[in-house]
């Protein structure tokens, strides 16, 4: 059975997601802050972590965005194959939702129309949209407003098969060291391993939307996640880059089959303001 969904519904839902994601972090992120606070040994780092926690409460209570960089809207659309969109142009409806959310929610408009000419589009559109078609008759929308302080510190490595597990661990750690204080640590690391050049990057971005406690179902990948987590927290970058035990809050790696000749690795940096919100229609 084909299910019809009016695209106007998507506009409404997306506009709500923009406001929700920029003012509230998911509960697992809130818990991760508390856990890091309890474990942190350096007094200044502890103080900064508690200020970040206070920042989160103020954001939710007074409806002031957690961070002034309310990001570029990245949207993952998982569309059931039995869905038929009606009532207008899907792409337009999605972007209308972003424009509405960013305008009505007092969010910053941070998108320029052309990378070189740099004129602001004034409503934060267009969004970066990733579609996938899945079984069923539902649509799952995940919206992740992505700040560019951390985005700018992201990297793609075209590793060789011979680089092995060690190459993966070291490359991710190199990217974290290079990001240092610039990407607003403590960080959440999303990595994509395998596939090809662009799939690795897309997996890395998607990995940022996974729950903090989630680990790869592949044991050897989960082991890399744990190893990077441990080693990154010994780098002494710390909250705001001022030193401490808390450099990363979570490390997630998504993987996909790849070519006999390669091992692409993308590392998408996210700051502690790791925002994402989802809705199922």
């Amino acid at each position: 059975m084909i299910r019809e969904i009016d695209v106007k519904l998507l506009t409404e839902e997306i506009s709500k997601l923009c406001i929700q994601a920029t003012h509230f972090l998911s509960q697992d992120m809130v818990d991760a802050f508390q856990k890091a606070y309890e474990k942190e040994r350096k007094p200044l780092a502890k103080e900064i972590l508690s200020q970040l926690q206070e920042n989160l409460s103020i954001a939710g209570e007074d409806m002031i965005p957690i961070c002034q960089d309310t990001g570029m809207a990245v949207i993952f659309m998982e569309v059931g194959q039995d869905v038929h969109f009606v009532g207008g142009d899907l792409y337009e409806a999605i972007n209308k939702g972003v424009a509405k959310g960013y305008t009505e929610g007092y969010l910053r408009k941070s998108v320029v129309e052309d990378p070189l000419l740099r004129v602001n589009t004034k409503d934060n559109t267009p969004a970066v949209i990733h579609y996938s078609v899945v079984p069923g008759d539902q649509v799952k929308i995940t919206l992740a407003p992505k700040g560019f302080g951390s985005e700018n510190m992201s990297k793609v490595y075209m590793l060789k098969p011979a680089d092995g597990k060690e190459g993966v661990v070291n490359s991710i750690l190199d990217a974290i060291s290079a990001a240092g204080p610039n990407a607003c640590p403590p960080l959440v690391i999303g990595a994509g391993l395998g596939g090809d050049f662009e799939l690795a990057a897309k997996m890395a971005k998607h990995a940022l939307t996974l729950p903090v406690e989630y680990h790869s179902p592949k044991e050897h990948i989960a082991e890399i996640e744990r190893e990077v987590f441990e080693k990154a927290n010994q780098l002494n970058i710390g909250p705001a880059g001022l030193g401490g035990d808390t450099t990363v809050l979570a490390v997630h790696i998504e993987s996909f089959p790849t070519h006999i000749a390669g091992m692409p690795l993308a590392v998408n940096m996210c700051c502690h303001v790791n925002r994402h919100a989802s809705v199922v229609i």
Binding site: L44, I48, Q51, L52, E54, N55, L56, I58, A59, D62, M63, I64, P65, I66, C67, Q68, D69, T70, Y106, L107, R108, K109, S110, R118, N120, K122, G147, G149, N152, G180, P181, N182, A183, C184, N236, I237, G238, P239, A240, G241, L242, G243, C271, H272, V273
Partner: protein, 179 residues
């Protein structure tokens, strides 16, 4: 060390600050980020007037979110300072005594800070809601067309900032790395 400081920061007071000092800043500063920097820089190179005096001025690398009714400003934390590196030495040469952002600076900025006796501070990145509470007055005074990137005059109280590069050129991020 914890210190109370006044903005604009005099070059005299700048000298008393050391990399790693936690400061609470009160007074007047101006926001400017990428686009406002580029415009001021181009004007200065062309020998044109710019809309603010740079003599012992404090600049905050900030592009806030719009204020809700009843609020002075929206979320108001620092942006990454390295994108301003190209423009900073010239502005320090024209008298800017304090810049506030987050993240590392390049060699030229280190050199210019030392040469002109200025200070680079970091505010906590990603704490824009909290930091907005320290801002008591905000007014767009130039480059209105740049939207969030316009130059705003801010009056702040007890804005928490850490000295990253002091007038001697010591860099707190580098000191932490060596710890």
């Amino acid at each position: 060390m914890r210190k109370e400081i006044q903005l604009p920061l005099t070059k005299e007071q700048a000298k008393t600050l050391k990399a790693g000092d936690m400061c609470f800043a009160t007074g007047v500063l101006y926001t400017a980020r990428d686009a406002a920097h580029k415009r001021m820089y181009d004007s200065l190179l062309n020998g044109e007037e710019i809309p603010i005096s740079l003599e012992e001025t404090a600049l905050y690398y900030l592009g806030p979110t719009p204020a809700r009714e009843g609020n002075v400003i929206g979320s108001a934390g620092p942006t990454t300072a390295s994108r301003m590196d190209k423009y900073t030495p010239l502005l320090l040469g024209k008298g800017v005594s304090a810049v506030i952002g987050k993240g590392k600076r390049n060699e030229e900025v280190h050199r210019a800070i030392k040469e002109h006796g200025a200070v680079y501070f970091a505010a906590i990145g990603g704490a824009g809601a909290l930091l907005s509470k320290c801002i008591k007055k905000a007014e767009v005074i130039a480059y209105d067309d740049l939207g969030t990137e316009a130059i705003r005059r801010l009056e702040v109280e007890q804005l928490p900032v850490v000295v990253i590069i002091d007038t001697m050129g010591n860099d707190y991020y580098e000191m932490v790395e060596k710890e």
